[in-house]
């Protein structure tokens, strides 16, 4: 298949896009992501998305051993420091309305528009401090027509996509910059759950849990180190499991946690100290 587009290959367009990202985007300055709308527009207008997808499909057809870089429902086109580019197939509506832990630019591919309902994050929302009393505020609906780009401002809004038929979308996103991904119920729009936004956070909490259950004193140092992690739930999981194997070290950690930046950790530490002081086993 010929992937030549306007005299240049799809790869060349992608390479130019990647170069522009490298020049204009700083992964540790998340707002710099918005400078890239022009580069994304140029990539879309070049037809490179079609060329890259066609070539990938052709390769799959010709080579039974080719795995490609496929994820569920998406083809990864590029990964870089703090950003990723993919073609995504929207197929099924979600049970919950999800906050996004990353910023994004979505562009519908093919002939159908992208329809969505918009919700404003409620006053008092702090991503890392889950609060089930908060409710979303409806903020209207939107349509992004073929050729358009939807800018997903995840620090202000949630986007609930309406899916009437499978919809391919070009998706350019940052890496997660928020600690948590919140889920809201459709009935009542109330916050009902918070998930880790990064797999590594889940893995570290599971690791702390396993070390605590195994109960080997040699794990104390690792858990003490983990108690200084950026993610509040990782810090607390480390302390909980440190207490299972090294109560003296946990006591020190609990007193430190009374001044933790996260209120849930401070309250759990204070409550744990109160409880331990009143029990015979808690000689902290």
């Amino acid at each position: 298949m010929d992937n030549t587009i306007h005299g240049e290959t799809a790869d060349a367009h992608l390479a130019r896009f990647i170069e522009q990202v490298g020049q204009q985007f700083q992964a540790d300055a998340i707002e710099s992501f918005w400078r890239l709308q022009g580069a994304f527009r140029e990539l879309l207008d070049s037809g490179a998305m079609r060329g890259l997808l066609n070539r990938e499909l052709r390769t799959l057809l010709d080579n039974a051993n080719h795995m490609g870089d496929w994820r569920p429902n998406q083809l990864m086109l590029h990964r870089g420091r703090g950003h990723a580019l993919s073609i995504w197939l929207f197929e099924q509506p979600r049970r919950y309305i999800h906050s996004l832990p990353f910023h994004g630019m979505y562009a519908p591919l093919g002939g159908h528009s992208l329809h969505y309902d918009l919700y404003r994050l409620p006053p008092g929302y702090r991503n890392a401090q889950f609060d089930p009393t908060l409710r979303l505020e409806p903020a209207g609906s939107g349509i992004t027509a073929p050729g358009g780009i939807l800018l997903l401002r995840s620090d202000e809004y949630l986007y609930d996509f309406k899916i009437e038929q499978p919809q391919p979308v070009a998706k350019f996103t940052t890496a997660p910059y928020q600690t948590l991904e919140w889920l809201f119920e459709r009935d009542g729009l109330r916050a009902c759950q918070a998930n880790d936004s990064e797999l590594i956070s889940t893995q570290l909490r599971v690791s702390a849990y396993v070390l605590g259950r195994l109960g080997n004193p040699a794990s104390s140092e690792a858990l003490r180190s983990l108690a200084g992690h950026d993610h509040h739930a990782v810090r607390w999981a480390a302390l909980q499991n440190l207490a299972r194997i090294d109560p003296a070290a946990a006591a020190e950690g609990l007193h430190t946690a009374l001044n933790d930046p996260h209120p849930h950790v401070r309250r759990a530490a204070a409550g744990s100290l109160r409880r331990l002081e009143t029990t015979s086993t808690g000689a902290l």
Partner: protein, 63 residues
């Protein structure tokens, strides 16, 4: 609000694991659990997770 399943409640510790130190103590849970990536249903984060996970581990300069 239902407490979310933290996602590892079915974790099995091998029988060969050493017994826990009997002097250990239990601390309270946080007032709201944080669930694992993708708990309840595939998450927005999960869509990109594999991509960034691979970047993180394959390319040290992207840490």
């Amino acid at each position: 609000m239902a407490t979310p399943d933290p996602g590892w409640s079915n974790l099995v510790i091998p029988m060969s694991a050493p017994l826990r130190d009997a002097t250990g103590v239990e601390l309270l849970d946080l007032e709201y659990d944080v669930a694992c990536v993708g708990a309840a249903e595939a998450s927005a984060a999960e869509e990109n997770q594999a991509a960034f996970f691979l970047v993180f581990y394959r390319l040290p300069e992207n840490g």
